[in-house]
Symmetry: C2
Subunit: 201 residues, 2 copies
DNA sequence: GTTTTATATGAACGATTCGTCTCGTTAAGT
DNA sequence: ACTTAACGAGACGAATCGTTCATATAAAAC
C-alpha cells in the first residue's frame, strides 16, 4: 500500500474513485445487443439464451449480467436500441392521426421489433421488474397521445364525457392486441372505425 | 407365447386391439392439474416447473408429458379446468351487455384464472402450438360476441358500416389489455364509454 | 380365472440453461 | 508506474428439461 491510501486524497476528503477503470471494449454493450438481435433472428425466441448471446457477442457472461441482470432487462435493452423516436401525425383529424399511428407501428413491429416487444409483454407476466418498466413505457406513450387528444378536443372533435387517458388506452390496447395475436397486416383505417367513432361526438 | 399369436385371431384377421388398457388412477389428470394450480398459488409463476408439478401431484413426469407435451398445453389444461361456461347478458342494450361482460371477466380473472390466462398469452409468443390453441379460443369467444352484436344490430343500435368481428375484437382487446397490464379493478361501465360510443350510431 | 395391454409410477439419465465466480488481461485514470 | 475497473473465457453447482428405464396395476379380452 502506498501512503496515499485508498479513499483519501491529499486534502483528506474521501475520494470516491481514483480511477474509473477501463472499458476495453466500449462496443461491448452494442456487441451484446447486436448479438442478441442476431440470435433472435436466426435461432428464434428459444435460441435467445444468455450463454448463446455471450458466445455470439464474444463477451463474458459476467459482462452481460453486469449490465442487464435479467433476461427481461436484456429484452428492454434490445427494444430501446432498435426503437427510433416517433412523433404522432397531426393531420387535423384524430381518426387519421390514429390510423397513421397504427400503420406506422404495425410496419415497425413487422420487423425485428415486433417479436421483441411481444416478448417483453410476455416476460412482464412473470417478471415484476419488467412489468414495472413496461408500465412506465406505457405511461410515456399515453402521455404522447394526450397531446394528440388535446388537439382534437380543441378542435371540438371529442365527446367531452370521455376520459382522455381511456381513449389513449383503447388505442394502445388495440395495437398490442394485434401484435400479440399476430395480425399486423390490418389497415389502421379499418381499426379506427371502431375506435374513431367511439371518441367522436 | 401362446399359439394364438399377438395380432391375430382364429379367423386370421389382424386384431387391432385386444385390450384398451387400464387407467389405474383416473384421478391422475385431476391430481396433476390441481397440483399445477396449487403451485401457481403458492410458489408463483416461476415455481410452476414440470418437476415440481410431478412431485406435488405424486405423479411421474412421464405421465405429465404423456397428456400435456408442453408447458403451454398444461397451462391450457389448467385454464380449461377452472373456466366455467359463460353466457353473455342480454340487457337490451349492447353497452350494458359489454359492461356486464367486462365486470364478469375481470372478477373471474382476479382469481386464479387471470395469471393462468396471462401466462397462456405469454407462452403463445414463443410456442406456436399454444398460439394456435389461443387463436382458436379467441375465435370461439368472437363467435359468442357475434350473437350479442347481431341482437344489437336488429335493435338498430349499431353503425352499419362497422364489421361485426372488429367490434368483438375491440372488446376482447380491451379486456386482454387490462389483464396484461394488471388493471382488473376498472369498472366495465367506464371502459364501455370508449367502446360503446364507438359502435353506436 | 388367466392373459393381454395400456397406463401409472418413480427414479435415473444426459443435455441445457442459469447465475455466480474465478482467472488472467487490458485499458483508462492518477 | 501504479491503481482500478471492466473485459473475455470459461469452470462451476444448481435447476430444469424431456426421455427412458423397470416395475406395478387395473381394465378389458379371452
Amino acid at each position: 500500500m502506498t501512503q496515499n491510501a485508498v479513499g483519501k486524497n491529499e486534502v483528506g476528503k474521501i475520494a470516491q474513485r481514483r480511477s474509473i477503470g477501463a472499458r476495453k471494449n466500449p462496443n461491448a454493450e452494442a456487441a451484446i445487443l447486436d448479438a442478441a438481435l442476431t440470435l433472435l433472428q436466426s435461432k428464434g425466441v428459444k435460441g435467445l439464451t444468455m450463454d448463446a448471446v455471450a458466445k455470439e457477442a464474444k463477451a463474458g457472461k459476467a459482462t452481460i449480467y453486469r449490465w442487464w441482470p435479467t433476461r427481461g432487462a436484456l429484452l428492454l435493452g434490445i427494444y430501446a436500441r432498435i426503437k427510433g423516436p416517433h412523433t404522432h401525425s397531426d393531420t387535423g383529424h384524430i381518426e387519421t392521426d390514429i390510423a397513421a399511428f397504427l400503420d406506422y407501428v404495425f410496419e415497425f413491429w413487422r420487423g425485428d421489433a415486433g417479436p421483441v416487444f411481444a416478448l417483453i409483454i410476455a416476460e412482464a407476466q412473470s417478471d415484476a421488474s419488467v412489468a414495472e418498466a413496461l408500465a412506465q413505457y406505457r405511461a410515456e406513450r399515453i402521455k404522447d397521445w394526450l397531446v394528440v387528444i388535446d388537439r382534437a378536443a380543441e378542435r371540438g372533435e371529442l365527446n367531452v364525457t370521455l376520459e382522455r387517458e381511456q381513449i389513449a388506452d383503447a388505442i394502445i390496447a388495440v395495437a398490442w392486441h394485434h401484435l400479440l395475436t399476430n395480425r399486423l397486416h390490418v389497415k389502421g383505417a379499418e381499426l379506427v372505425q371502431v375506435l374513431g367513432f367511439g371518441i367522436l361526438k
